[in-house]
Amino acid sequence: MKNKSALTQKLCASPHIVWSAIFIVVPLIMVLYYAFTDANGAFTFENILRLGDYTTTFLRSIWYGIVATVICLIIAYPLAYIIAQSKARVQSTMVMLVMIPMWMNFLLRTYAWMTLLEDNGVINGIITKLGFDGVHMINTSGAVILGMVYNFLPYMILPIYTVMTKLDRSLIEAAQDLGANKVCVIKDVVFPSTLSGVVSGITMVFVPSVSTFYISQKLGGGSFALIGDIIEMQFQVSNNFNFGAALSLVLMVLILICMAVMNRFGDDENAAGGMMI
């Protein structure tokens, strides 16, 4: 009997394994291959050595990614807590409100921000109507980070919210009974037990923020490039697949390192913390 269930398990998993092999493993190997070859297919380190010129771009992308992730976390955590604490009907409405923007195309939403932030845009129109001086917002790093926060915020709220709903209320009550004040309850009871949600939220915001290119092009005016822009340019304009692959490879490694460091934080805080990579 046992053998049979093992076989069923394998059968059920096989489509996923085949899928991963074809669409994840093989492309990764191709990225590796391109990164270490030149246009004629000969082995070379030149692509990797060229990357030194792009250090600032890499660091800028990571920095923007960190800032966006931290802002998302600061907004999302209390919000998820409030949603999880409210009544069932209110809860479903609020989750709905978080999800609805995701039904719209990501590119369209970013484009809409362009119209909002422009010097003659909607927001400045309102500000000047009220008698204040207009604020220059578009084509600044602030606008790019705003775009990242706006677009990826739901990916932070939803995992945290999911963990929060599973939170055992009796734990909180027990802590209160034992004399813990509000801050203490949140710091020592709620936060540690929702850490797995926070970790997956951070991953889901940080990774797309670091590698984005559309947001920086539209809201940053293309005057400073993130690493995603440079990679896009290698494939779309320069037709230099090898260098593009080298950039992507290093970006992947950097993201992996960031995630590993973060997992160490989550890891020893709480054994129940979920592992994410």
């Binding site: 010129d53 792009y54 600032t56 771009t57 660091l59 800028r60 990571i62 920095w63 960190i66 800032v67 362009m114 119209t115 422009e118 010097d119 003659n120 845009g121 220059h136 578009i138 084509n139 790093s141 092009q217 539209k218 940053g220 005016g221 293309g222 005057s223 400073f224 490039a225 822009d229 440079i230 340019m233 494939f235 779309q236 304009v237 320069s238 037709n239 230099n240 460091v261 934080f265 020893d268 805080e269």
Partner: protein, 399 residues
């Protein structure tokens, strides 16, 4: 028998449809009935065909009705983008519409098929000046579709003077109000025009000089754009930009404050032509499509819709053509600016140009704050980790 009837019916439909439209279409000498029910894949620039919006002619639909050949239509936004798709071999297209220098490159690399002009009797509509161009001297591979030049578009409400030079795009008075091309060839192109450098110079110092000039301009540039230019110029978000003449006419329709000039230093002229890439699956169908694009009524509909200059006699001589007196598209010979075509660059020069362009783009003005931010973030993390480590040790001691 049934098959015969259906072919007959299809042919009848062809004639019935063509009669009211008055289209001079499928060459009558040949029999194309076996193409009914086949498909062609057309790969064109975005917004580069009359698509039936606002009561215009839907060119693809008319072609389908007329010939029974199904048109699969997709678009691209740059020559390089299209080239990568064809070169990669991942997709099959029957028609592409590259620009001059890209045609030169693709012919050189053997990526284009020779066209059978016996299927394209309407080729006689092409003006003589657009035959035997440098990229296809024997007229074997390409059929001109549209012609255009790059010029300076500016908002008369924001620019008081009447500019006549590319130099105004380097004028500090307009800092933060200048839009620049977001593709290396065109951005370098106008810089080279301004500096009086040949657009196709093979001297790498010339490219570096143009790069320095672009770097000098960067702090003044509001953003580097392609299609977003419409939005930004029409809303008055930017004071000026360099863009294609035909697109100015579309912008002006939405913002009458805009004006246009061909700067005195000269500019780039381009010809976009229909070509058939190797690996095409339905060559005759593709040739019929090209022939259809050249027929008077279709070409007129396209010229009215796209607003680019037409290389087609049947359009420019048509009294109904609303843009025929538009001096921006068809300047008088004495007003014609100095123009140069782009030529295909050698792989080394292409590499140089794109890496200079990369350098231009990766420079930011916030470099210092990034380093400070990252260092302080790392410091906070380390301090926090240390604090946690110490606390853990303390707890272990306690128990």
């Amino acid at each position: 028998m049934r098959k015969f009837i259906s072919v007959f019916a299809a042919l009848m439909m062809v004639f019935l449809c063509s009669a009211p439209l008055g289209l001079t279409t499928v060459a009558s000498a040949k029999d194309y009935s076996d193409l009914v029910g086949t498909e062609i894949n057309v790969y064109n620039w975005g917004e580069y065909i009359s698509d039936g919006a606002e009561d215009t002619m839907d060119v693809n639909k008319e072609f389908e009705k007329l010939t029974g050949i199904k048109v699969n239509y997709t678009t691209y936004d740059s020559n390089e983008n299209m080239y990568n798709k064809i070169k990669g071999g991942g997709a099959n297209y029957d028609i592409i519409i590259p620009s001059d220098y890209m045609i030169e490159r693709m012919i050189g690399e053997g990526l284009l098929e020779k066209i059978d002009f016996s299927n394209i009797p309407n080729y006689s509509n092409i003006l003589d000046e657009y035959k035997n161009l440098y990229f296809d001297p024997a007229n074997e591979y390409s059929v001109p579709y549209n012609v255009g030049m790059v010029g300076l578009i500016y908002n008369t409400k924001m620019v008081e003077e009447t500019p006549d030079s590319w130099g105004i795009m380097w004028d500090e008075n307009y800092s933060g109000q200048i839009l620049m091309f977001n593709n290396p060839r065109d951005a370098f192109g106008i810089t080279q025009c301004y500096l009086g450098i040949d657009l196709n110079t093979t001297n790498s110092d010339d490219w570096h000089r143009a790069y320095d000039k672009l770097k000098e301009q960067k702090p003044l540039v509001s953003s580097y754009v392609m299609d977003d230019v419409y939005n930004k110029m029409e809303s008055g978000e930017a004071a000026m930009c360099a863009y294609y003449a035909g697109d100015y006419l579309s912008m002006k329709a939405n913002n009458p404050d805009l004006a246009f000039v061909y700067p005195k230093e000269g500019t780039n002229i381009f010809v976009d032509s229909a070509c058939i890439p190797v690996g095409c699956q339905n060559k005759t169908g593709a040739e019929l499509y090209i022939n259809f694009l050249l027929s008077g009524e279709v070409a007129l509909a396209n010229a009215e819709y796209i607003c680019y200059a037409s290389p087609n006699k049947a359009v420019v001589n048509n009294p109904d053509y609303s843009l025929k007196d538009e001096k921006i598209l068809y300047p008088e010979p004495e007003d014609m600016p100095k123009t140069q075509y782009y030529h295909n660059l050698s792989p080394e020069l292409l590499m140089l140009m794109t890496s200079l362009w990369d350098n231009l783009k990766i420079e930011g003005n916030d470099d210092v704050s990034i380093y400070i931010g990252l260092i302080s973030f790392t410091a906070i993390c380390v301090v926090y980790a240390g604090y946690r480590f110490v606390r853990k040790k303390k707890r272990e001691k306690m128990y």
